[in-house]
C-alpha cells in the first residue's frame, strides 16, 4: 500500500505575514515568520492561544495565501491546497453522512484513484477494523480521531499538518495516539508540523520545538531536541528543556 516513491516534503517560510479584518479593523496575526523545515522533520509549534498557529498551518496547507512573504514546498511556491499536504484538525470533522470507510476513502473519491487495499490497510493500522460500516456518530472521541488520522494517511502524504490533533482526547487515549503517531512517522518518514498546547507532548515527539510570541506571532525560539526515541517523560534533560520552554511562553521559572 505504501507508495515506495514517497519523499518527505521540505517547507520554507520567507518573511511570512498575514492578518484578518476583525470588526472592520485589520489585525496582524503573523509577522515576519521565517522557518526552514527539512524533509522528514517532526516539528512541534507552541505558542499562546490565539497567537496565529492555526493560521500558519492554513497558509502551509494552501487554504489561504499569505498577505506578504513566500511559502515554498520543495522550493516551489504553494499556490493552493494539494493532496501531498494533508491537514488533520483538532476536531475529527468526519462527514456524518459517510461511513467510517467512506470517510477514510475521501481523498481517493476526490482524486478518482481508488485503492481499496490501501483503505483497508489504513483502517487496520489505526485499529478500526470491524467499524468500517459504522457512522461517525457511533464512534467514541478517540475512535473518531483515529478515523481522521486514517483519512489523512491513506494516500501517503508527504507532509502531515496536525492542529492540536490530540487536544480533546482523554489522557490515556492520548498516550496511545502519541505512540502511534511516532511509530507512523518513523515507518513512513513524512514531514510533520504539529501544533500542540502540551509542552511535554512536543518534547516527547518532535525533533524540533518552535515557540511563538503572542499575536502577531513571530518565532521566539527554535530548539533541536537531540534525544533518541523512545523518550521518557522523566528524563532530566527533557525536564530542563520543558522548564526553559515554559519560561519562553511566559511562565515564571519556579512554576
Amino acid at each position: 500500500m505504501v507508495n515506495a516513491t514517497m519523499t518527505p516534503l521540505g517547507i520554507q517560510l520567507d518573511n511570512v505575514s498575514h492578518g484578518y479584518d476583525i470588526g472592520g479593523r485589520f489585525t496582524p496575526v503573523l509577522e515576519n515568520v521565517n522557518l526552514n523545515i527539512a524533509p522528514g522533520e517532526f516539528i512541534a509549534l507552541l505558542g499562546p492561544s490565539g497567537c496565529g498557529k492555526s493560521t500558519l498551518l492554513r497558509l502551509v496547507a494552501g487554504l489561504e495565501a499569505p498577505h506578504a512573504g513566500r511559502i515554498l514546498a520543495d522550493g516551489a511556491p504553494i499556490t493552493g491546497p494539494g493532496p501531498d499536504r494533508i491537514v488533520m484538525f483538532q476536531d475529527p470533522t468526519l462527514y456524518p453522512w459517510r461511513s467510517v470507510r467512506a470517510n477514510v476513502a475521501l481523498s481517493q473519491d476526490i482524486s478518482g484513484r481508488v485503492d481499496n487495499a490501501a483503505v483497508d490497510a489504513t483502517i487496520a493500522m489505526v485499529g478500526l477494523q470491524g467499524f468500517e460500516r459504522a457512522w461517525p456518530h457511533q464512534l467514541s472521541g478517540g475512535m473518531a480521531q483515529r478515523a481522521a488520522l486514517a483519512r489523512a494517511l491513506v494516500n501517503n502524504p508527504r507532509l502531515l499538518i496536525l492542529d492540536e490533533p490530540l487536544g480533546k482526547l482523554d489522557s490515556l487515549t492520548r498516550l496511545t495516539m502519541q505512540t502511534e503517531l511516532l511509530r507512523l512517522w518513523q515507518d513512513r518518514g513524512f514531514t510533520v508540523i504539529m501544533v500542540t498546547h502540551d509542552v511535554e507532548e512536543a518534547l516527547l515527539l518532535a525533533t524540533r520545538v518552535i515557540t511563538f510570541s503572542s499575536r502577531p506571532a513571530s518565532v521566539v525560539s527554535d530548539i533541536n531536541i537531540d534525544l533518541p526515541y523512545h523518550r521518557h517523560r522523566d528524563d532530566p534533560h527533557l525536564l530542563a528543556l520543558r522548564r526553559d520552554i515554559l519560561v519562553q511562553l511566559g511562565h515564571s521559572a519556579d512554576w
Binding site: 494539494g82 470533522t93 456524518p96 453522512w97 481523498s107 476526490i110 459504522a134 457512522w135 457511533q138 483519512r151
Partner: protein, 331 residues
C-alpha cells in the same frame, strides 16, 4: 434509522423502537383474532338488515366486508399484524355504524350524507374516470413539483455559496417568494397561453419557495471545516457542492421538499378547479356541480390517498438518503 450495523454499538439515549410500538400498547393476544370477526359483523349488518331506501351496491358492499373478514382471520397469525389489529377492528365497527345510521335508518339529511354503498357504487361504475383523473393530477403535479424542487435546490445552493448570485437573486426571492402562488393564478392564465403551462409554472413556483429557503439555510449552516477537509485533499467546486454541501444540507433540504410538496398539492387543486379541465380537482368541481356527492367523496378519498402516498414516498427516499442520521421522524 434504517441502516443497521453488524456490531454492537448502541447509543444510550436512543429509545429502542420496540418500547414505543403499539404492540406494547396492546399486550392482549386475543385482539388480532377479533379483527376478522369484526368485519363479518359489518358484512352481516349490511346484508341482512334491509336498506331504508333503494341503494345501489349493497350486496357488493357486504361481499367486500366479508372478504376483508376472510383475509384478516389468518392474518392474526402474523406477528406484524397484531399492531394493526386495533385499527382494523375500529374500522370495521365504524363502517358497520355508518351503515346502520345512514343506509338502514337514514338518520342524516340525504343527498349530502351518503352511504358506504353509494361510495362503493361510484368506485365500481366510475373507476375509469376516477383513475383517469388521478393520472392527470399526478402528471400535472409531477412536472410542476419536480421542476420546482430541482430549481429550488439549485437556487438555494447559489444563494448559499455565491455572494454575487445572492446580491441579484435574494431581493427577487424576498419579493416573489412569500406571495401565495394562488394570487398569481388570474395573471398566469392571462399571460401564459395554455392553462396547463400556467398551472405547471405556478406549481413549480409554489414548491420552489420552501425548497429555496431551506436549501439556502442548510447550505449556509455547513461547517466550513467540512470544506477545508476536502479542499486540502484537492477537491474542486464541483465536489464541494455535490459531495459536501448538498449531503451536509440534505436534512434541511428534505424539510423544504416536504413543505414544497404540500404547497404543490394546494396549487394542484386550485389549478384544476379553476383552469385545467382534467384531474381530481376538476372531477370534484364537476361532481359538486351536479350535486353528485358520492362522486365528490370518492374523488376526495382518491386525492387523500394520492397525497399521503406521495408524502410516504418522499419520506422513504429521505430515510434511505438520511440513514446516517441519529434519529429522524417516522412518517
Amino acid at each position: 434509522m434504517t441502516q443497521t450495523t453488524s456490531f454492537p454499538i448502541h447509543d444510550i439515549d436512543t429509545v429502542p423502537e420496540a418500547a414505543i410500538s403499539p404492540r406494547k400498547a396492546w399486550p392482549s393476544g386475543l385482539l388480532p383474532w377479533l379483527a376478522g370477526p369484526a368485519w363479518f359483523v359489518a358484512a352481516f349488518v349490511t346484508w341482512f338488515w334491509p336498506d331504508a331506501d333503494d341503494f345501489p351496491a349493497t350486496d357488493s358492499l357486504a361481499i367486500v366486508f366479508a372478504i376483508m373478514g376472510i383475509i384478516l382471520v389468518p392474518a392474526a397469525l402474523l406477528r406484524r399484524f397484531s399492531a394493526k389489529a386495533p385499527w382494523m377492528i375500529a374500522l370495521a365497527l365504524g363502517f358497520a355504524a355508518w351503515e346502520g345510521v345512514q343506509a338502514k335508518l337514514l338518520l342524516l339529511p340525504r343527498p349530502f350524507f351518503g352511504t358506504p354503498q353509494d361510495l362503493l357504487d361510484v368506485f365500481m361504475t366510475d373507476w375509469h374516470k376516477l383513475g383517469d383523473s388521478l393520472l392527470h393530477s399526478l402528471g400535472l403535479l409531477a412536472v410542476g413539483y419536480i421542476t420546482g424542487s430541482l430549481l429550488g435546490i439549485a437556487i438555494g445552493v447559489g444563494l448559499g455559496r455565491s455572494a454575487r448570485f445572492r446580491y441579484w437573486v435574494q431581493p427577487v426571492i424576498r419579493l416573489v417568494g412569500p406571495l401565495p402562488p394562488v394570487a398569481l393564478l388570474p395573471l398566469a392564465f392571462v399571460i401564459i397561453p395554455s392553462s396547463w403551462a400556467a398551472s405547471e409554472a405556478l406549481m413549480a413556483l409554489a414548491s420552489a419557495f420552501p425548497v429555496i429557503v431551506l436549501t439556502w439555510s442548510g447550505i449556509s449552516a455547513v461547517d466550513p471545516a467540512y470544506y477545508d477537509v476536502a479542499r486540502t485533499m484537492g477537491a474542486r467546486d464541483r465536489f464541494l457542492v455535490f459531495r459536501v454541501a448538498l449531503p451536509a444540507a440534505a436534512p434541511q433540504i428534505f424539510v423544504g421538499l416536504f413543505m414544497g410538496l404540500g404547497m404543490s398539492f394546494a396549487m394542484l387543486v386550485v389549478a384544476e378547479m379553476l383552469g385545467v379541465k382534467s384531474g381530481l380537482g376538476f372531477y370534484m368541481q364537476w361532481a359538486q356541480g351536479w350535486a353528485a356527492y358520492p362522486n365528490m367523496y370518492a374523488a376526495l378519498v382518491v386525492m387523500s390517498l394520492m397525497c399521503t402516498g406521495l408524502i410516504t414516498i418522499l419520506f422513504r427516499i429521505r430515510d434511505r438518503i438520511l440513514g446516517w442520521q441519529k434519529d429522524g421522524l417516522k412518517w
